[in-house]
Symmetry: C2
Subunit: 299 residues, 2 copies
């Protein structure tokens, strides 16, 4: 049995795990990421954690998922908003030099996509499109078991796809970007606007929808439409064998996946209308996906 | 030197050529396609043409580009509007049985994309996105020298991407689909509406633009905006190393590619803004691409 070292680096916490080919987590270490103390401190902490992995030298390699874009061709982090000092940082090379293990890195949504493609809802399918629907919206394209990262790691940055001509400008994303119209954050915002201050999360809006609150139903219906519109654009680019949707909002899949499917069907060619739209299956796609990154590159 | 048999099948004409690794056309046969006489007649004609190729048995294989979608997994034509009777038709298998050569087929825009990726403007780049801007709009994604055809051959059917919320429904495509807002046909339609009956083609509108006709400038500006909007969606899915634009409209590249680039930059992340947007280089992307389909599958 081969195993891989997985590093799931976030702005707040970092996990280092030992994962086997089947996605079993054999050892799991957690720590604050110390992001505010700079890239070197974050890296030293990760290195110290990796050193605690049993049988480290027999691992096949190290895989890292980060909340940012990774230029996988030049092995450098393009941008990582929640990790100050990591833009241009050569984390790959530092870990490889230290541990003498093949090291790979990609965006956290891309890594989760790979996990779902190899071991989750997309298992066995050639083209898997994964969407994480959480506070933000991210995506990942996996073709024949390999992540498509893009020229500078922006493949899958679907949050910024424009789905509404009269959308407002909320942040660095496009006015009318799908993240601003349909993310958990957007759902919460709309809930606060139309239901009231009692709404503090997207989960609250979904809960109201479950109680048949027409305001909540309208919000989720609209968000579902915008997600479907982004998915239609995605499908016309890569015609995947499956859409897999994960992230916190997907816990309410029974409430809104059928809405997404109904809208999606109206915006694609007939023979694309039956692309399955499935809920993500894995509990730990970030940890497992970072390990699978090594496996996918070495195979 | 290896060579390949290329079949460029259209609704009106068919070409069968012998093409080498460098895209040189060593032999070139043309014929009506006899599309209205049914799939068997079309196939018999193609077979008779292939038999005329010198040194046929030493060819590496047969590659076919068709104006339609191809399910490359199940080796069957999904849809081909201008080729009656070809839906579900097993052209692959018939040719393979007859000539005992490996046979591959894909959509004509996908095949042109492959030609530009391997031997044209995208040569040497890992991810190439090709757009054909002609009477219609088509696309093709090539990653590491392989076409991404999709589950049922609909990858690249970007004509149907919605770029305008208040667009009209003109045909089987979505209201506001980029093809209906920015194709050569759309440019001609808008030219007839705002300039007059003297406009009979997109080329006429481009010619008026060259004479600084403000109505023509406004039409092309708007079409460029919509193309850029579709390109931004595409880039957020696959972050290509280059966009290559071919097709008849691209003959006026000097007039409108700069407009596309300016709009595109406003709709993507900063580090995606400098993706090169290049004019296609090959005169015969369809013929060369069908040959390259064989090469790309066998390598």
């Amino acid at each position: 049995m081969s195993y891989y070292i997985s590093v799931d680096l976030g702005g707040t916490n970092v996990r280092v795990a030992k994962v086997d080919d089947f996605g079993n987590i054999l050892q799991d270490l957690k720590s604050p990421s110390f992001a505010l103390e700079g890239a070197d401190r974050v890296t030293e902490n990760i290195m110290a954690m990796i050193e605690q992995i049993d049988g480290l030298s027999a691992a096949k390699g190290i895989g890292i998922g980060i909340p940012g874009a990774v230029d996988t061709y030049n092995r450098v982090i393009t941008i990582a908003t929640n990790l100050p000092g990591f833009r241009g940082y050569r984390l790959f090379d530092k870990l490889e030099a230290k541990f003498h293990l093949p090291t790979f890195m990609d965006n956290d949504a891309n890594v989760a996509a790979l996990a779902e493609a190899l071991l989750g809802a997309g298992q066995g399918l050639p083209i898997v499109y994964y969407i994480t629907h959480s506070t933000g919206i991210g995506g990942g394209l996996v073709i024949d078991g390999k992540v498509v990262s893009g020229r500078r790691g922006y493949a899958g940055e679907i949050a910024n796809i424009i789905v509404r001509d009269d959308g407002q400008k909320y942040n660095y994303l496009n006015p009318g970007a799908v993240e601003n119209e349909a993310s958990g954050t957007a759902i919460c915002r709309m809930g606060q606007e139309t239901i009231g201050k009692e709404i503090t999360s997207a989960a609250d809006v979904f809960a109201k929808m479950r109680q048949n609150d027409p305001r909540a139903i309208a919000i989720i219906d609209r968000a579902s439409y915008y997600i479907a519109k982004a998915m239609a654009a995605i499908a016309h680019v890569c015609d995947p064998h499956i859409f897999v949707i994960g992230g916190g909002c997907a816990n309410a899949s029974d409430l809104y996946f059928p809405l997404i499917a109904d809208y999606y069907k109206t915006m694609v060619h007939d023979l694309m209308a039956d692309i399955p739209i499935s809920k993500a299956q894995l509990d730990e796609p970030g940890v497992i996906g970072a390990a699978m990154l090594v496996k996918s590159h070495l195979e």
